[in-house]
Every structure is written in C-alpha cells, then in structure tokens.
C-alpha cells in the first residue's frame, strides 16, 4: 500500500450547470468517483475497512443552483499532469459537470468565505418598481427560519442581512437580475435559497404561477475580504 504522503494534492475547479443543478451533493460525489475511474486518474483510497476514494469538497452547492466555481481536492499518485487530468476527466463527465482548471492548491478550502450569485427572476408582475422593492428588501433586515441542531425545535430565526454584500437589482425588460455576494464561510453560510424565501415572505413573490421560475448561478468566490478571488 502506497502511503498517503506519496500522493500529491490536486485541486479541481469545476462547473455544475444545466440539468446537473438538480443533482445533490451526495450524488455529485458518486458521479465524480466513477468519473475518476473512467478517466484512469489514480486517486488515493482511504485505508479503512471499506476503502473508498477520498474527495474533499468546498461547501456544498445548494440544490437547484448552478455554479461556475466549485472546488474539489484530491490526492493523485505522481507524476501528476494537470492538463491531462482535466482533459481525461472532461471526456468522462456528463456535459453539465465540467472541470475548468486543475492545479496545485495554495489556499485552504476554509479560506473560501464569500460567493457572488446571480439570480434571474421571471414572474408575472415584473417591473422597474418591483426591482426597486427587491432592492430595498435586500438593504433591510430579513428574518429567515432555518434548520439548526442547536435548538430544541430544530429551527431558528436569523437575520441574513449581515451576510449580504454589494447587491444590485436590475430589471432588464425580460427578468429581474439580482447580483449579490453572500457569505459562505463554515460559520455563517447564507444559502441562496434564503433570498428566494425572503422574496416570498416580504414581497409575496412565490413563483407559483405557470411560467414563473428563477435561476441561481454562483459566479465567483472570494476570500475573507470579499475582494480577493478565491481559487
């Protein structure tokens, strides 16, 4: 058995878009596991009773959101050819999950603290005015009930405003576009779904009518200062 130290740490930046946005984190894990085998990328297996390839992800993407910037750390047996890993993996992955970059990581996964999301909202009463209402909503406290393990009821109310930065809201004639940086640290993870829930709670935008829908895309991630791009 080759010791774990002989393997080289490699980071993959990948996108998860289109139909793959409805694939849960657990299922993503399984999909990637088999893709590594197909691509013949020899990654490190855990040594336990039930050996399995070790994949370490950045914080999971919420179900239904697309992303251009997900991160996965693996350990690969040298010699490591980053370009070759990318190429062979992409051939062996579904079209909606594609590797953008393979490189030696210089940061910890925990250094990822902020994510910029774009929301596109298509609903029946869209207008400039509605966009302004949304804008002012995003600048005031928003109380969202979320699940927690800390209280007896399993639920807790939080204000998500402190976890939102530099938000813009634009109505482009077709849909309302929101761009917002949401905190995504281990301590305070603002799920993009909270924004959707706030829209329902404060403005009654519930996407229940036929033809109404929204999309969420994670565009880029930042370090703690919310300026330096995380990679």
């Amino acid at each position: 058995m080759v010791s774990v130290n002989e393997y080289e740490k490699v980071r993959l930046e990948f996108s998860k878009t289109g139909r793959a946005k409805f694939i849960s984190h657990l299922d993503l894990n399984r999909t990637l596991r088999t893709a590594f085998v197909r691509a013949k990328v020899a990654i490190w297996f855990t040594n336990g009773f039930n050996p399995h390839p070790k994949l370490v992800f950045s914080l999971p993407l919420s179900l239904g959101a697309e992303s251009m910037c997900e991160f996965l750390d693996i350990r690969v047996l040298p010699p490591v050819d980053h370009e070759k890993i990318k190429e062979s993996l992409n051939k062996n992955l579904p079209d909606d999950i594609q590797i953008k970059r393979v490189y030696k990581p210089k940061t910890k996964l925990e250094d990822l603290c902020w994510s910029r999301y774009t929301f596109k909202l298509y609903f029946n009463s869209m207008s400039e005015e509605k966009a302004n209402e949304i804008k002012s909503m995003l600048e005031n406290p928003m109380i969202i009930t979320k699940r927690t393990k800390k209280t007896k009821s399993g639920l807790t109310d939080i204000d998500i405003l402190p976890g939102i930065r530099s938000s813009t809201v634009v109505f482009d004639g077709e849909c309302v576009n929101i761009s917002a940086d949401l905190e995504s640290s281990v301590d305070n993870y603002i799920n993009p779904d909270y924004i959707i829930r706030a829209l329902d709670k404060y403005l009654n935008i519930d996407f229940e009518q036929s033809g109404e829908y929204y999309t969420v895309m994670k565009e880029v991630t930042f370090k703690k200062d919310c300026k330096t791009v995380y990679q």
Partner: protein, 621 residues
Amino acid sequence: MNEKYNIDGILRKVLKPGRYTGGEYGQIIKDKEKIKCRFAFAFPDTYEIGMSNLGVRILYGALNKNENIWCERVYAPWIDMQQQMKKHNIPLYAHESMDPVRKFDILGFTLQYELCYSTVLNMLELSDIPLYAKDRGEEYPIVIGGGPCAYNAEPVADFFDVFSIGEGEEALVEFCELYIKMKESGGYTKEKFLHEAAKIEGFYVPSLYDVSYNDDGTVKEYTPKYDDIPTKIRKRIIKDFDKTYFPEQFVMPYIETVHDRIVLEVYRGCPRGCRFCQAGMIYRPARAKSPEVLNRDAKTLYENTGYDEISLCSLSISDYPHIRELTDKLLEWTDDKMVGLSLPSMRADSFSRELMKRVSSVRASGLTFAPEAGMQRLRDAINKNICEKDIFEACRAAFEGGRNQVKLYFMCGLPTETEEDILGIEKLARAVVDEYYQTENRPKGRPTVTISVACFIPKPFTPFQWDRQSTMEELVEKQQLLASAITDRSIKYNYHDANVSRIEAVFARGDRRLSKALAKAAEYGFKFDAWDECFDYDKWLSVFDECGIDPSFYANREFGEDEVLPWDIIDCGVSKEFFLRERHKAYNDTVTENCMKSCAGCGANKLGGECTWCPSTNTKK
C-alpha cells in the same frame, strides 16, 4: 416560454428532481434530423427501478447501435411530479431530448410484472395518447409491449398495437427496420405495417386475432383475421449467446438506483425446472456465455462505467458450469482495483464455501437462499431439488465465513401444501439457528435468520398454470399459523401482502375481458400498484365489481386441463404436454431431474441455438 424552463420551475417543487433531469453520463444523444425511427423505451415504474433493469440497458444499447434509430428512456414520474406536470400542462417526455413521448414513432413498454399495468395506462394518459389501440390514429406512436408479461398480455391486449414475444435484442431492431422501410417506400399505414409485423417471428398483433368464449366464460378459440399470419406466435431467442449484443457502456444515473452496479448476464434460462417458476420456463433453452466473453465484457464495462461492484446475474448462478473459471478470471483484476463481486440469491445445493469466500474477498454482501418450502415432500412436489442437508451445509459455510445473518425465501399456498408444510418453515428456520450454534468457528453474537414468505401465484407457462391460488382467507390463515409457531427471537418473519398477490394472480392468468377493469382503474387514477402507498385492494375489488368481473374466476379457479388457455396463442418453446406431465408428477411428489443430468423433453431445444445443456443441439459442453 421555453418548455425546458417550465420543467426547471416544477423540478424545484418535487422530491428527488434527479429522477427527471436526464443528462446522465452515457446517455445517447443523436441528431434528430438524421433519424428515421424515434423509439421511446418506457419502463412503467420509477426511474430508480427502471434504470436498474438489465434488459432495458441491453435494448437501449442494441437499438441505438443502429444509426437510423434513436432510442430514448421514459420512466413513470412519481405522484408529486405527475401533479406538477398536470398543473403546468407538461406531457410525459423522454429523458434524452425532453421531447413529448406522443411525438415518437414507436413507444415501447417493458412489462416486467403484472402490477405495472395500471402505470402503463397512467403513462399513456400523461402522454395524451388514447388508451385503446383502436382509438389511436396515424398521428400517434405505435405502442409495443415486451418482457415476461407479454407471454400472457391478454389483459392489456386492447391497449397495445403489438407485442414482442421473447428476446428482443434482434427482434426489436428488425421491427424498427420494417417500420423505416415501409415509411420510406411510401405505402405506410398503421394497419398495413401491423399486418406485416405480424408475419415476423415473435410479433403478436392482438387486433388481428378474434377471441371467442364459451358459455362458462372460458376461452373457446383464437381466430386469425388473415391467412398469412401465424395461428400461434413463437417466441424469439438469441441463438448464439456468446455473440449476442451486450452493452459496453451503461447510462450512469446521477441519483442512487436499486441496482447501481455492473450486471453481467452469465447465462439466460435455468436448468432446474422448479414447477412454480415462470422465468425458468420461458427463458428456455438455457444458454450460457463463455468465461472469456464475460470477463472481457466485465473489464470493458468497468473501464467505461467506473462502477466498483460487479454482480453476476442469472436465475441460478451456482449452476453455471464455468463458475470457478469465471471468478478466477475476474478476481485476477478486480481485487487490485477494489471492485467487489456479488451474487444474487443462490440455490443452497451447489453452493461451495470456496465460492462464497471468493465473492466476499473484497466486500461483504448479503446471503440469501431459497428453499421455497419447509418440508422435503413439498420441495419435491415443486421440484425444488434441494434437501435439508444442502441448506444446512450452505448456512454452515456462511457462518464459518463470518456471517451471522442469512435470509431464506419461502412460498405459501403452493399446490399440495398442508399445515405440516407451513409449520415446516418454522422448523427449518429453527434448525438453521441451531446449526449456527453448532458451528465451532462462528462469529460472535446471535444469528438472524430472516424468513421471507411470498404467496404462491399460478403463472402462465408453468406446470402450475392450471392450479388455483389459495383464497385470501386461506392465505391469511397460513400466514398466521406460521407467525404463531415462531417463538425464537433469532428468527425474523416477513410475509407478502396476500391482497397484492391476489390482484397479481388475476392479471397473470387473465384474458382480454380484463381490459375493461384496467381502463376503469385508469379512469380512477390507479397507478404504482406495486407500491404499498398506492395499492388499494378494496378499490380494485370495486372496480372488478363495477365491470362485472369475478376476480376468483381468474385467481382462485382451477383451470381445466383441456381448457383453451388465454395464453395458448403464444408458443414459448416448452410444450403444453410437458407442463401437464410435470403437473401430474407434482401431485405424485415426484421430482424431475435438472437439464444438466438428463433431458426431460420440454421441447425448447426445437428453438435451436447453442443450448448449454440440451441434447442434440449441444455443442458447448
């Protein structure tokens, strides 16, 4: 508005949206413009069940190998998704292109179990396709059925244009080719096409056969409407199993499915001849693949799927003559690559400790044996040729191999069964527990012996096809008798819902008059009858009542040996005389030796092919 985005919106409102997205690795996308025949392959159950079916995987690959055909997958959306689809006017669509099923040339349903019939009709409704074949004009797809239930498809015959009888790898491609040829030559009409299709071996066009009935309700005769179509439809088989198509790639589901692994079909058919077993009869003659071919396929599939488990699949895997050679070859590379081997339920007799050790060398998998009956006399009557000693030895081997759990499958309500046989199940289970404590190098702790007891359902094309199913009262009484006999806490007792088994029995031996009940059931929104949360026995009874159908006529009546059976229109290769002989032997508690030892003259070897155990045609031993 773009249709795809509508789906996007509703997928946020349903459980497990990954069931409906498509887009998996390995799915086949073709250029619509270059395709001459679009085939929607529908599995009338959930995605997780349908994606696990090896037959679908084989046929998906075999059809798509042809450049003129594009085969796509369709599954039954779960109830929450159906509600959303109805609310937003989204018709049933195929996974690859997301195009509505209604727009396809051919819509195929695989009929794996009778309880899927209501879901078939439900899927037609979701597709906006009229249920009855006679109501469908040229603008609708040709609806074809296949799979084990097609051997007696009479209850659903009015809803289908045609059935593919037997093995479809070659037949379905021929069927599509005929369709393309007739479309290209101009003179295509649905009627002409079906008439031509009825002339191909293995295709049954029910509308071309009239059925008449006797005063007592039994079938009088089947009359073909044309002279140039067969009076009996003979099933198709693959002649050379080593050379037949086997997929080199599977569609890799994103979400977890029931059997999410490589499945190798080691051989088709079964040499055993258990008298209740339909699969053991309709897949005759038994044909095996060589270990070389299997090992090659396993390697290819491993490389192309990345799965870490290979399941060896057959009706009776330990009877495979080259099992040692095959596992040797596989273990040469699977251990290194952390790939586990697993086996389905096994017969206890030919089970060797060594085989089990081999299989568990990478990862432990469950152990299941199927004694089927508690007493030797009954095991002889049903021709389950194993004895108590075999079962104990197999269990002992399992215990010595470090396991403390075994699962035993039984049936209740078998022909000739007595109270003693039912109590025998408990005795046998207790003896297995004793065997555990007598095993010296057993693992620590208490054993768990799980006994799972199904209700006997008489199936077409078996020696017990004439026998009646026990009534509900009898079945419940037997289940309770067994429950009260079990006192040992190491024995876990599961039994099947007798209600479900009865409905299954009605449709298994049903005739065309049952279509009325199915149409009525569809009207009331029946679907997913194989699911506890959906199945409603009382509702079924009232549907039968409303349609003037007596379910006992089909389930609980002993059919006359000289009666014309609804499925007599099909020739499955095994002769009716053989079934009769076997039935009479059963009533004398006489066994029939398996095909490996001697030929019982079932007649299946007349179908030809490289039969593994059949005399005269045998070239492979």
